[in-house]
């Protein structure tokens, strides 16, 4: 065999190996969490808040953290949509395509996407101090909203960008203005993609810990107002892991399993939803 063929064989082997390593790391992570968490998973975990002595191994669950994470990520996603959708529409409908302004905005949002969540947490914290706020649901919502906003803008921007120019022209030619075209045609055409962006951002919001560590606080109760502190699932996992009691650590693994399942459901929903909603989309 020629040398160059041997080289190709070797590298092809290495490539397959690398792909296997990367995929098996995913499998390994999911399996570990499943195997370690399943024995400790119980109905009480998902239906009760921590009872007295929960962190010493006594009864209760982490409903506070599950609901807290949903509140927090839900609020943040809502806030982020209010900002992101108009921005994405502005870049694609109101601005001239490919103008310098649009490129500069895209560049900025790309850069913002890479800012670590701990920095958003620290920045959110300085805002809170500035307004004299304490760690609370609202504080966490603001920090997470800032964190997911750039990603949401960019992913919505990417799907809205795919709307054919001619489709917008068709609407303009009927005398519609840009606002009407944006709402009735552009949003409708890119709805599946927009919803996917939203769900992905929501998943990000649920899974993030570093941005809420300063801003959301932690509590065993389910918050009743925006100004109360709130527990989140990732922090609940983190704190339970810190307790050197096997029972509590086991429940940390179970909590990690719950978090992972929630994330998987969200990403599955994103996939299914975008398939389902393509009814009206014009190809």
């Amino acid at each position: 065999m020629e040398r160059r063929n041997i080289e190709e064989k070797i590298f092809k082997g290495l490539m397959l190996l690398s792909t296997m390593v990367i995929l098996s790391s995913l499998v390994l992570i999911l399996l570990t969490v499943l195997v370690k968490g399943l024995p400790y998973l119980s109905l009480a975990m998902v239906t009760q808040v921590p009872q007295g002595g929960y962190y010493l191994g006594k009864g209760g669950g982490i409903l506070n953290a599950i609901v807290g994470s949903l509140y927090l990520a839900g609020g943040a996603t809502f806030l982020a949509i209010l900002l992101s959708l108009p921005v994405a529409l502005y870049l694609n409908v109101y601005s001239k395509s490919d103008s310098k302004f649009v490129s500069a905005c895209r560049f900025t949002f790309d850069v913002l996407c890479g800012v670590p969540s701990i920095v958003y947490g620290a920045f959110g914290f300085t805002i809170m101090i500035f307004f004299g706020m304490r760690a609370s649901l609202l504080g966490g919502i603001i920090a997470i909203a800032l964190l997911i906003m750039p990603m949401m803008i960019r992913s919505m921007d990417e799907v809205i960008r795919l709307v054919p120019r001619e489709l917008m022209d068709a609407s303009y030619a009927l005398g519609a203005n840009r606002w009407e075209t944006a709402l009735k045609v552009v949003v409708r055409q890119s709805l599946p993609g927009i919803l996917t962006s939203i769900l992905i951002a929501f998943g990000r919001g649920i899974g993030d810990a570093a941005a809420v560590i300063f801003t959301a606080g932690f509590t065993d109760a389910i918050p009743t107002s925006l100004l109360r502190p709130v527990a989140t699932l990732p922090l609940a996992i983190f704190f339970q892991l810190g307790v050197p009691i096997p029972e509590v650590q086991g429940r940390a693994y179970a909590s990690a399993l719950i978090l992972t399942i929630m994330i998987l459901i969200i990403s599955l929903a994103a996939r299914l939803l975008s398939k389902k909603l393509t009814r009206h989309v014009v190809k």
């Binding site: 990367i22 606002w179 810990a209």
Partner: protein, 300 residues
């Protein structure tokens, strides 16, 4: 002829103005962040010379000594290990997916990598504590003839490497796919093998883009907090080997938020750490984005 302003027109113009303001506000976030963190870290910057802050490893907040060197080195080590592990694996995988795998395989692997990207960092941390740390303690360290608790730079690097797989693969895959098919065919047509074509033609075209992917991976690794914090040991010393524990900057910030208020200058020091992270990441991201824009222009 002048047309009176209809309600529709007013709505359109109002929407345009409001959306412009929102867009500018979103863009301005970047400046607000830099300014806010800078403002908060001014006290510490005023109290000690920069050289002291960056090149001293004495970290004694109670005595007012804030030398960031151990933390900076901790970050650099962990990031370095992660990149060393991730880059070859990701490159080989991207080349495989782009050049060898058929579209069916690609359609299967891509969502899996998306799932990997979606796993929360705490879950990576849990996995690291359950699998990587014991592995290092019981297998790697004895093999190297040293003692380690397992909570080490290597553990952080491995976990971090997995976390940045999706970033690097995603970007480099996009770059490889952007190389036009004709270029490959031209090389194959003169009798080159597939691998030679990849090595001499595809890689050459894609190299700057791959560099951008790596830079993006570095910047992602740089700021990752929770997962690293859980497995890296958090000892504020300059590390000397990958089996030493370390204390990266993000972990420093996250671990000490409770005590911030009681010690003078401490909160300012933590905000400075956040500012450093922010500036480094902005720089790296901007760099990688600029390379990517240029590459995409030159490939087409």
């Amino acid at each position: 002829m002048k047309v009176p302003m209809s309600a529709r027109r007013v709505k359109d113009i109002m929407a345009s103005k409001i959306m412009l303001v929102l867009t500018l506000a979103a863009v301005a976030l970047i400046f607000f962040m830099v300014a806010g963190l800078y403002f908060k870290s001014r006290p510490i910057l005023a109290s000690q010379p920069l050289s002291e802050l960056f090149f001293s490893s004495r970290w004694r907040p109670f005595r007012g000594e804030f030398g960031f060197l151990s933390f900076i080195m901790g970050t650099v080590w962990v990031t370095g290990v992660a990149v060393l592990i991730a880059v070859p694996l990701c490159l080989l995988t991207s080349i495989y997916l782009s050049e060898y795998a058929n579209s069916k395989v690609r359609e299967w692997v891509k969502p899996l990598i998306d799932i990997l990207a979606g796993i929360p960092s705490v879950v990576f941390g849990v996995w690291g504590m359950l699998v990587v740390v014991p592995f290092i303690k019981d297998v790697v360290a004895p093999f190297a003839g040293v003692f380690s608790t397992g909570y080490s730079i290597l553990a952080g690097g491995i976990v971090l490497a997995i976390m940045i797989f999706p970033v690097i693969i995603h970007v480099s895959l996009e770059i490889f796919r952007a190389v036009p098919q004709e270029v490959r065919e031209a090389s194959l047509a003169v009798g080159a093998t597939r691998w030679q074509t990849i090595k001499h033609v595809v890689m050459r075209k894609a190299l700057p883009g791959v560099a951008a992917a790596v830079v993006l991976g570095i910047s992602r690794a740089f700021g990752e907090t929770m997962a690293v914090l859980m497995v890296v040991g958090n000892v504020a010393k300059i590390p000397h080997s990958v089996l030493d524990p370390a204390y990266p900057l993000p972990a420093l910030i996250a671990n000490n938020y409770g005590e911030m208020m009681s010690i003078p200058l401490y909160d300012s020091a933590l905000m400075l750490a956040a500012l450093i992270l922010l500036l480094v990441v902005l720089l790296f991201n901007a760099l990688s984005k600029m390379i990517l824009i240029r590459v995409q222009r030159s490939i087409r």
